[in-house]
Assembly symmetry: C2
Homo-oligomer: 207 residues x 2
């Protein structure tokens, strides 16, 4: 918090984002204006524009903040001393849970996500890259420990994220809810099997 | 074709579906009316309604016909004598290619798919179930031959389809085109690794 008091501009940006997120949840992104945000903060729109160029910039800030919370939780799991398989399961489960909490139950936030994916795709891409990098870090640890056997760690991470996309992508989580298919744990089992060392059936102890 | 001459009603239904598909591609699903379809067939709308209850029924018929073509191709691959791994790769590749051809390049057909998923979800589910069953058949063959080691064939098939969803689902194929990520063959390699027999690293030739 020292950072906020030493840097009042950061504190103000953060306040704008918190108020904006609350209004986006209540009114919806489309219906919220910068004037609404300013009024809720008892300041003029011009004052809000000192910190953000546009409504779109505020929207990106809110999206970044929400995605940042997921990244912080993921980073904490990545850094734990547990076996890589356990960390990978927890990481995947946590990303799913947090995305579902943040974006899926809430129609207004869901609209916000849809717009972010249309208008601020580069912000979403950076987030996806950070999550994928953390998954790669855990896979690399697992490879070193002999839990996993993969030729290309970055590719294995990319394939893991692609395999789990029904559980990661906010719009797919929303649609998959009422449809049959493997549970998250079953898909994690499948991914762990893909990463696990494989021996061809005819090998070892020849003769 | 004998079926068609012996059963003129089937022949007529097929003609309506072919004409409807052509108009949906040209004008779009929303803009095509039953009157348009009837006019293109030089008959009255009442005559078209003898074979289909509604425009929605015609739409479902067109969707079924297009999905049926994919199922026929998939069934042919499932029945081949090649090793299961090869059949599985070909099956997945073919479903992807045919879905991309049928639904993705074409904005009008894309709209048709979106509406089918909203209004005729049970028709889509039946198709997905048939493809999943064929994948299960190939996985079962692979298990019998020792190429694959899976406890639950149906679950393995379900996980395979979920892992490949970016390459199967028409709306995801469309969006994934311009985004980085594993190629289809890389995802198939990942799936085959998940299905392959795995031996824990410390095993065999003890001592």
């Amino acid at each position: 918090m020292a950072l906020m008091t030493d840097h009042p501009e950061l504190a103000m940006r953060e306040r704008v984002l918190l108020v904006a997120e609350r209004l986006f949840r209540q009114l919806g992104y489309q219906k919220t204006t910068v004037a609404d945000i300013a009024k809720a903060m008892r300041m003029s729109p011009a004052n809000v524009y000192r910190f953000f160029d546009s409504k779109k910039a505020i929207h990106e800030g809110v999206a970044c903040r929400l995605m940042g919370e997921v990244e912080v939780a993921a980073q904490a799991i990545t850094a734990r001393p547990e076996p890589a398989s356990q960390r990978l399961r927890d990481l995947i489960t946590t990303v799913h849970r947090m995305n579902a909490e943040r974006y899926v139950g809430d129609a207004k936030l869901h609209e916000m996500v849809a717009i972010a994916m249309e208008e601020s795709w580069d912000v979403c891409v950076s987030h996806i890259e950070r999550i994928t990098a953390m998954i790669a870090e855990v896979i690399a640890d697992g490879k070193k420990a002999g839990e996993f056997a993969v030729a290309d760690v970055a590719l294995a991470s990319s394939c893991t994220c692609t395999a789990m996309i029904n559980f990661f992508h906010p719009q797919l989580i929303a649609h998959a809810d009422d449809k049959p298919g493997p549970t998250l744990d079953q898909m994690v089992d499948f991914v762990l099997a893909a990463l696990a060392p494989c021996r061809p059936p005819v090998e070892c102890c020849p003769g």
